[in-house]
Symmetry: C2
Subunit: 203 residues, 2 copies
Protein backbone atom coordinates (compact mmCIF):
# COMPACT_ATOMS: atom_id res chain seq x y z
CA UNK A 1 0.00 0.00 0.00
CA UNK A 2 0.90 3.56 -0.55
CA UNK A 3 1.49 5.71 2.51
CA UNK A 4 2.16 8.97 0.69
CA UNK A 5 -0.79 11.34 0.39
CA UNK A 6 -2.67 11.38 -2.91
CA UNK A 7 -2.14 14.28 -5.31
CA UNK A 8 -5.23 16.40 -6.01
CA UNK A 9 -5.89 17.24 -9.66
CA UNK A 10 -8.58 19.88 -10.27
CA UNK A 11 -9.74 20.51 -13.84
CA UNK A 12 -12.62 21.42 -16.13
CA UNK A 13 -13.46 19.08 -19.02
CA UNK A 14 -13.46 22.11 -21.33
CA UNK A 15 -9.87 23.09 -20.45
CA UNK A 16 -7.22 22.24 -23.10
CA UNK A 17 -4.38 22.51 -20.57
CA UNK A 18 -6.49 20.34 -18.23
CA UNK A 19 -6.56 17.73 -20.98
CA UNK A 20 -2.77 17.91 -21.41
CA UNK A 21 -2.30 17.46 -17.66
CA UNK A 22 -4.81 14.58 -17.58
CA UNK A 23 -2.75 12.71 -20.17
CA UNK A 24 0.40 12.90 -18.03
CA UNK A 25 -0.28 13.27 -14.32
CA UNK A 26 -1.13 9.65 -13.40
CA UNK A 27 2.06 8.22 -14.89
CA UNK A 28 4.26 10.89 -13.31
CA UNK A 29 2.60 10.37 -9.93
CA UNK A 30 2.92 6.58 -10.20
CA UNK A 31 6.68 6.87 -10.82
CA UNK A 32 6.88 8.47 -7.38
CA UNK A 33 4.49 6.08 -5.63
CA UNK A 34 1.58 8.49 -5.62
CA UNK A 35 -2.09 8.16 -6.44
CA UNK A 36 -3.99 11.04 -8.04
CA UNK A 37 -7.48 12.15 -7.01
CA UNK A 38 -9.25 13.64 -10.02
CA UNK A 39 -11.74 16.44 -9.38
CA UNK A 40 -13.65 17.75 -12.39
CA UNK A 41 -15.11 21.16 -11.53
CA UNK A 42 -16.85 24.00 -13.37
CA UNK A 43 -14.58 26.87 -14.31
CA UNK A 44 -17.63 29.12 -14.73
CA UNK A 45 -18.34 28.73 -11.00
CA UNK A 46 -14.65 29.19 -10.11
CA UNK A 47 -14.27 32.31 -12.29
CA UNK A 48 -17.45 33.86 -10.89
CA UNK A 49 -16.37 33.24 -7.29
CA UNK A 50 -12.79 34.43 -7.78
CA UNK A 51 -13.58 37.37 -10.06
CA UNK A 52 -11.29 35.78 -12.64
CA UNK A 53 -11.93 35.47 -16.35
CA UNK A 54 -11.56 32.78 -18.99
CA UNK A 55 -8.02 32.98 -20.37
CA UNK A 56 -8.95 32.61 -24.02
CA UNK A 57 -11.32 34.18 -26.50
CA UNK A 58 -11.09 34.06 -30.25
CA UNK A 59 -10.52 37.72 -31.06
CA UNK A 60 -8.03 39.40 -28.70
CA UNK A 61 -4.29 38.96 -29.25
CA UNK A 62 -4.14 36.95 -26.01
CA UNK A 63 -7.03 34.75 -27.10
CA UNK A 64 -5.49 34.12 -30.52
CA UNK A 65 -2.16 33.32 -28.90
CA UNK A 66 -3.72 30.84 -26.52
CA UNK A 67 -5.56 28.95 -29.25
CA UNK A 68 -2.18 28.68 -31.00
CA UNK A 69 -0.42 27.69 -27.78
CA UNK A 70 -2.93 24.92 -26.96
CA UNK A 71 -1.99 23.12 -30.17
CA UNK A 72 1.75 23.81 -29.93
CA UNK A 73 1.86 22.72 -26.28
CA UNK A 74 0.07 19.48 -27.22
CA UNK A 75 2.66 18.82 -29.97
CA UNK A 76 5.45 19.67 -27.53
CA UNK A 77 4.07 17.10 -25.09
CA UNK A 78 3.38 14.48 -27.79
CA UNK A 79 -0.38 14.51 -27.23
CA UNK A 80 -2.96 14.42 -30.05
CA UNK A 81 -5.03 17.61 -30.31
CA UNK A 82 -7.58 18.99 -32.74
CA UNK A 83 -9.03 22.40 -31.93
CA UNK A 84 -12.73 21.86 -31.06
CA UNK A 85 -15.16 23.73 -33.31
CA UNK A 86 -17.27 24.71 -30.25
CA UNK A 87 -15.16 26.07 -27.41
CA UNK A 88 -15.42 26.45 -24.47
CA UNK A 89 -18.42 24.26 -23.55
CA UNK A 90 -20.45 23.82 -20.35
CA UNK A 91 -19.31 20.59 -18.68
CA UNK A 92 -21.70 19.88 -15.83
CA UNK A 93 -23.08 16.72 -17.50
CA UNK A 94 -19.63 15.24 -17.99
CA UNK A 95 -18.56 16.20 -14.46
CA UNK A 96 -21.72 14.76 -12.85
CA UNK A 97 -21.30 11.55 -14.84
CA UNK A 98 -17.73 11.33 -13.58
CA UNK A 99 -18.75 11.59 -9.92
CA UNK A 100 -21.54 9.05 -10.27
CA UNK A 101 -19.20 6.59 -11.99
CA UNK A 102 -16.55 7.21 -9.36
CA UNK A 103 -19.02 6.02 -6.74
CA UNK A 104 -19.40 2.76 -8.68
CA UNK A 105 -15.92 2.07 -10.01
CA UNK A 106 -12.90 4.44 -9.70
CA UNK A 107 -11.00 2.92 -12.60
CA UNK A 108 -13.99 3.16 -14.90
CA UNK A 109 -14.49 6.82 -13.89
CA UNK A 110 -10.85 7.52 -14.85
CA UNK A 111 -11.32 5.85 -18.25
CA UNK A 112 -14.49 7.88 -18.74
CA UNK A 113 -12.72 11.16 -17.93
CA UNK A 114 -9.97 10.45 -20.44
CA UNK A 115 -12.59 9.42 -23.02
CA UNK A 116 -14.44 12.72 -22.50
CA UNK A 117 -11.22 14.69 -22.99
CA UNK A 118 -10.33 12.73 -26.15
CA UNK A 119 -13.92 13.12 -27.37
CA UNK A 120 -13.66 16.88 -27.01
CA UNK A 121 -10.06 17.60 -27.99
CA UNK A 122 -9.52 14.93 -30.65
CA UNK A 123 -12.93 13.92 -32.03
CA UNK A 124 -14.62 17.34 -31.72
CA UNK A 125 -17.66 15.93 -29.88
CA UNK A 126 -20.10 18.32 -28.20
CA UNK A 127 -19.42 17.11 -24.65
CA UNK A 128 -21.95 19.60 -23.25
CA UNK A 129 -24.74 17.37 -24.58
CA UNK A 130 -26.13 14.74 -22.17
CA UNK A 131 -26.63 12.42 -25.16
CA UNK A 132 -22.96 12.61 -26.11
CA UNK A 133 -21.90 12.09 -22.50
CA UNK A 134 -24.10 8.97 -22.33
CA UNK A 135 -22.66 7.72 -25.62
CA UNK A 136 -19.07 8.16 -24.45
CA UNK A 137 -19.92 6.30 -21.23
CA UNK A 138 -21.80 3.51 -23.03
CA UNK A 139 -18.80 2.88 -25.27
CA UNK A 140 -16.67 1.99 -22.26
CA UNK A 141 -19.33 -0.30 -20.83
CA UNK A 142 -21.43 1.96 -18.61
CA UNK A 143 -25.17 1.27 -18.41
CA UNK A 144 -26.71 4.14 -20.31
CA UNK A 145 -30.09 4.21 -18.53
CA UNK A 146 -28.62 4.12 -15.05
CA UNK A 147 -26.28 6.97 -15.91
CA UNK A 148 -29.11 8.98 -17.54
CA UNK A 149 -31.10 8.68 -14.31
CA UNK A 150 -28.06 9.54 -12.18
CA UNK A 151 -27.40 12.74 -14.16
CA UNK A 152 -30.75 14.04 -12.87
CA UNK A 153 -30.27 13.02 -9.25
CA UNK A 154 -30.05 15.74 -6.60
CA UNK A 155 -27.21 13.81 -4.89
CA UNK A 156 -24.98 13.96 -7.96
CA UNK A 157 -25.80 17.62 -8.59
CA UNK A 158 -24.95 18.36 -4.95
CA UNK A 159 -21.70 16.38 -5.25
CA UNK A 160 -20.48 18.54 -8.14
CA UNK A 161 -21.45 21.69 -6.23
CA UNK A 162 -19.53 20.42 -3.18
CA UNK A 163 -16.47 19.75 -5.33
CA UNK A 164 -16.58 23.30 -6.73
CA UNK A 165 -16.81 24.65 -3.17
CA UNK A 166 -13.91 22.44 -2.11
CA UNK A 167 -11.88 23.68 -5.08
CA UNK A 168 -12.40 27.29 -4.05
CA UNK A 169 -11.50 26.45 -0.46
CA UNK A 170 -8.30 24.81 -1.72
CA UNK A 171 -7.36 28.01 -3.60
CA UNK A 172 -8.17 26.73 -7.09
CA UNK A 173 -8.64 29.59 -9.58
CA UNK A 174 -8.17 27.84 -12.94
CA UNK A 175 -7.57 24.53 -14.73
CA UNK A 176 -5.47 22.46 -14.36
CA UNK A 177 -4.56 22.96 -10.74
CA UNK A 178 -2.50 20.26 -9.01
CA UNK A 179 -1.86 20.19 -5.26
CA UNK A 180 0.91 18.02 -3.79
CA UNK A 181 1.11 17.97 0.04
CA UNK A 182 -0.33 21.51 0.11
CA UNK A 183 1.95 22.85 -2.67
CA UNK A 184 -0.11 24.27 -5.58
CA UNK A 185 0.86 24.06 -9.27
CA UNK A 186 -1.24 25.85 -11.87
CA UNK A 187 -1.03 24.96 -15.55
CA UNK A 188 0.18 22.03 -17.66
CA UNK A 189 3.46 23.94 -18.09
CA UNK A 190 4.24 23.33 -14.41
CA UNK A 191 4.78 19.60 -15.06
CA UNK A 192 8.60 19.92 -14.91
CA UNK A 193 8.26 21.60 -11.50
CA UNK A 194 5.76 18.92 -10.40
CA UNK A 195 8.19 16.15 -11.38
CA UNK A 196 11.02 17.85 -9.54
CA UNK A 197 8.84 18.41 -6.46
CA UNK A 198 7.90 14.72 -6.40
CA UNK A 199 11.54 13.66 -6.88
CA UNK A 200 13.00 15.94 -4.24
CA UNK A 201 10.14 16.54 -1.81
CA UNK A 202 10.34 20.28 -2.48
CA UNK A 203 12.88 22.75 -3.79
CA UNK B 1 28.25 37.35 -39.16
CA UNK B 2 24.87 36.00 -38.34
CA UNK B 3 22.34 35.61 -41.15
CA UNK B 4 19.47 34.32 -39.03
CA UNK B 5 16.90 36.91 -37.94
CA UNK B 6 17.19 38.29 -34.42
CA UNK B 7 14.76 37.13 -31.77
CA UNK B 8 12.50 39.83 -30.30
CA UNK B 9 12.17 39.89 -26.52
CA UNK B 10 9.42 42.16 -25.14
CA UNK B 11 9.25 42.73 -21.40
CA UNK B 12 8.43 45.15 -18.58
CA UNK B 13 11.10 45.84 -15.95
CA UNK B 14 8.46 45.18 -13.27
CA UNK B 15 7.69 41.65 -14.54
CA UNK B 16 9.16 38.78 -12.49
CA UNK B 17 8.79 36.31 -15.34
CA UNK B 18 10.37 38.94 -17.61
CA UNK B 19 13.36 38.92 -15.26
CA UNK B 20 13.60 35.11 -15.40
CA UNK B 21 13.51 35.23 -19.20
CA UNK B 22 16.10 38.04 -19.29
CA UNK B 23 18.52 35.86 -17.32
CA UNK B 24 18.29 33.03 -19.87
CA UNK B 25 17.30 34.17 -23.36
CA UNK B 26 20.65 35.52 -24.63
CA UNK B 27 22.57 32.34 -23.85
CA UNK B 28 19.90 30.10 -25.37
CA UNK B 29 19.74 32.27 -28.50
CA UNK B 30 23.55 32.33 -28.80
CA UNK B 31 23.68 28.51 -28.73
CA UNK B 32 21.62 28.61 -31.91
CA UNK B 33 23.50 31.46 -33.59
CA UNK B 34 20.86 34.07 -32.82
CA UNK B 35 20.96 37.61 -31.50
CA UNK B 36 18.21 38.94 -29.25
CA UNK B 37 16.64 42.38 -29.56
CA UNK B 38 15.48 43.55 -26.15
CA UNK B 39 12.39 45.77 -26.01
CA UNK B 40 11.38 47.09 -22.59
CA UNK B 41 7.76 48.26 -22.74
CA UNK B 42 5.09 49.40 -20.28
CA UNK B 43 2.61 46.71 -19.31
CA UNK B 44 0.18 49.40 -18.13
CA UNK B 45 -0.05 50.65 -21.72
CA UNK B 46 -0.33 47.10 -23.09
CA UNK B 47 -3.02 46.09 -20.60
CA UNK B 48 -5.05 49.22 -21.27
CA UNK B 49 -4.89 48.73 -25.04
CA UNK B 50 -5.66 44.99 -24.95
CA UNK B 51 -8.29 45.13 -22.18
CA UNK B 52 -6.13 42.71 -20.23
CA UNK B 53 -5.30 42.87 -16.54
CA UNK B 54 -2.22 42.46 -14.40
CA UNK B 55 -1.85 38.75 -13.56
CA UNK B 56 -1.01 39.21 -9.90
CA UNK B 57 -2.39 41.00 -6.89
CA UNK B 58 -1.68 40.28 -3.25
CA UNK B 59 -5.12 39.19 -2.06
CA UNK B 60 -6.91 36.87 -4.51
CA UNK B 61 -6.07 33.16 -4.60
CA UNK B 62 -4.56 33.67 -8.08
CA UNK B 63 -2.50 36.63 -6.87
CA UNK B 64 -1.22 34.72 -3.86
CA UNK B 65 -0.38 31.74 -6.04
CA UNK B 66 1.56 33.90 -8.48
CA UNK B 67 3.67 35.54 -5.79
CA UNK B 68 4.51 32.01 -4.62
CA UNK B 69 5.15 30.82 -8.18
CA UNK B 70 7.52 33.72 -8.98
CA UNK B 71 9.87 32.55 -6.23
CA UNK B 72 9.50 28.83 -6.94
CA UNK B 73 10.03 29.34 -10.69
CA UNK B 74 13.19 31.34 -9.93
CA UNK B 75 14.49 28.49 -7.73
CA UNK B 76 13.55 26.00 -10.42
CA UNK B 77 15.57 27.98 -12.95
CA UNK B 78 18.50 28.57 -10.58
CA UNK B 79 18.03 32.35 -10.55
CA UNK B 80 18.32 34.52 -7.39
CA UNK B 81 15.03 36.15 -6.40
CA UNK B 82 13.82 38.19 -3.43
CA UNK B 83 10.21 39.34 -3.54
CA UNK B 84 10.27 43.16 -3.89
CA UNK B 85 8.54 45.03 -1.07
CA UNK B 86 6.93 47.43 -3.59
CA UNK B 87 5.34 45.56 -6.51
CA UNK B 88 4.51 46.20 -9.30
CA UNK B 89 6.23 49.52 -10.03
CA UNK B 90 6.03 52.01 -12.93
CA UNK B 91 9.03 51.48 -15.18
CA UNK B 92 9.08 54.32 -17.68
CA UNK B 93 12.31 55.78 -16.30
CA UNK B 94 14.16 52.48 -16.54
CA UNK B 95 12.78 51.81 -20.02
CA UNK B 96 13.67 55.31 -21.30
CA UNK B 97 17.16 54.98 -19.88
CA UNK B 98 17.51 51.65 -21.69
CA UNK B 99 16.60 53.14 -25.07
CA UNK B 100 18.91 56.11 -24.64
CA UNK B 101 21.80 53.85 -23.65
CA UNK B 102 21.02 51.54 -26.55
CA UNK B 103 21.57 54.47 -28.91
CA UNK B 104 25.05 54.95 -27.39
CA UNK B 105 26.24 51.41 -26.72
CA UNK B 106 24.14 48.23 -27.17
CA UNK B 107 26.26 46.13 -24.84
CA UNK B 108 26.09 48.72 -22.09
CA UNK B 109 22.29 48.93 -22.50
CA UNK B 110 22.10 45.15 -22.02
CA UNK B 111 24.21 45.34 -18.86
CA UNK B 112 22.00 48.15 -17.62
CA UNK B 113 18.80 46.14 -18.23
CA UNK B 114 20.15 43.17 -16.28
CA UNK B 115 21.30 45.51 -13.50
CA UNK B 116 17.81 47.04 -13.28
CA UNK B 117 16.25 43.58 -13.00
CA UNK B 118 18.74 42.50 -10.33
CA UNK B 119 18.21 45.82 -8.54
CA UNK B 120 14.47 45.19 -8.40
CA UNK B 121 14.24 41.42 -7.89
CA UNK B 122 17.32 40.83 -5.74
CA UNK B 123 18.24 44.12 -4.02
CA UNK B 124 14.67 45.44 -3.58
CA UNK B 125 15.49 48.84 -5.12
CA UNK B 126 12.67 51.19 -6.05
CA UNK B 127 13.36 51.15 -9.80
CA UNK B 128 10.47 53.56 -10.44
CA UNK B 129 12.63 56.37 -9.02
CA UNK B 130 14.73 58.37 -11.52
CA UNK B 131 17.42 58.71 -8.84
CA UNK B 132 17.70 54.93 -8.44
CA UNK B 133 17.77 54.45 -12.21
CA UNK B 134 20.60 56.99 -12.46
CA UNK B 135 22.47 55.25 -9.65
CA UNK B 136 22.19 51.83 -11.29
CA UNK B 137 23.45 53.33 -14.55
CA UNK B 138 26.29 55.25 -12.89
CA UNK B 139 27.52 52.04 -11.24
CA UNK B 140 28.14 50.47 -14.65
CA UNK B 141 29.93 53.54 -15.96
CA UNK B 142 27.18 55.66 -17.49
CA UNK B 143 27.50 59.44 -17.20
CA UNK B 144 24.84 60.40 -14.71
CA UNK B 145 24.20 63.94 -15.93
CA UNK B 146 23.87 62.98 -19.59
CA UNK B 147 21.39 60.25 -18.69
CA UNK B 148 19.42 62.60 -16.40
CA UNK B 149 19.05 65.03 -19.31
CA UNK B 150 18.14 62.23 -21.73
CA UNK B 151 15.35 60.96 -19.46
CA UNK B 152 13.57 64.29 -20.01
CA UNK B 153 14.06 64.42 -23.76
CA UNK B 154 11.01 64.25 -26.04
CA UNK B 155 12.89 61.91 -28.41
CA UNK B 156 13.41 59.28 -25.70
CA UNK B 157 9.83 59.59 -24.47
CA UNK B 158 8.62 59.17 -28.07
CA UNK B 159 10.90 56.15 -28.53
CA UNK B 160 9.33 54.32 -25.60
CA UNK B 161 5.85 55.19 -26.88
CA UNK B 162 6.80 53.86 -30.33
CA UNK B 163 8.08 50.61 -28.79
CA UNK B 164 4.78 50.14 -26.92
CA UNK B 165 2.90 50.71 -30.18
CA UNK B 166 5.17 48.24 -31.97
CA UNK B 167 4.59 45.68 -29.20
CA UNK B 168 0.83 45.96 -29.62
CA UNK B 169 1.20 45.65 -33.37
CA UNK B 170 3.28 42.50 -32.88
CA UNK B 171 0.50 40.96 -30.75
CA UNK B 172 2.24 41.40 -27.39
CA UNK B 173 -0.26 41.21 -24.48
CA UNK B 174 2.03 40.50 -21.51
CA UNK B 175 5.61 40.01 -20.31
CA UNK B 176 7.78 38.24 -21.27
CA UNK B 177 6.82 37.79 -24.88
CA UNK B 178 9.39 36.31 -27.26
CA UNK B 179 8.96 36.19 -31.04
CA UNK B 180 11.12 33.91 -33.20
CA UNK B 181 10.60 34.24 -36.97
CA UNK B 182 6.98 35.27 -36.34
CA UNK B 183 6.28 32.50 -33.78
CA UNK B 184 5.15 33.96 -30.43
CA UNK B 185 6.01 32.53 -27.01
CA UNK B 186 4.45 34.04 -23.89
CA UNK B 187 5.92 33.41 -20.44
CA UNK B 188 9.22 32.26 -18.96
CA UNK B 189 7.70 28.77 -18.77
CA UNK B 190 7.81 28.57 -22.57
CA UNK B 191 11.64 28.38 -22.54
CA UNK B 192 11.65 24.60 -23.23
CA UNK B 193 9.46 25.21 -26.28
CA UNK B 194 11.69 28.12 -27.34
CA UNK B 195 14.78 25.92 -27.13
CA UNK B 196 13.10 23.19 -29.14
CA UNK B 197 11.88 25.70 -31.74
CA UNK B 198 15.42 27.04 -32.17
CA UNK B 199 16.85 23.52 -32.40
CA UNK B 200 14.33 22.19 -34.90
CA UNK B 201 13.13 25.27 -36.78
CA UNK B 202 9.57 24.57 -35.62
CA UNK B 203 7.59 21.58 -34.39
Amino acid sequence: MNDKAAIDFWFDFSSPYGYLMAEKIDAIAAKHGRQVKWHPVLLGVIFQATGSRPPADAVSSKGKYMLHDFARSARHMGIPYNPPSRFPLPTQNAARAYYWLHGQDCALARRFALAVYLGFFVDDLDISSPEIVLEIAAKIGVDRNSLATALQSPEIKARLKDECDAALKAGVFGSPHVIIDGEPFFGADRLPQIERWLETGGF
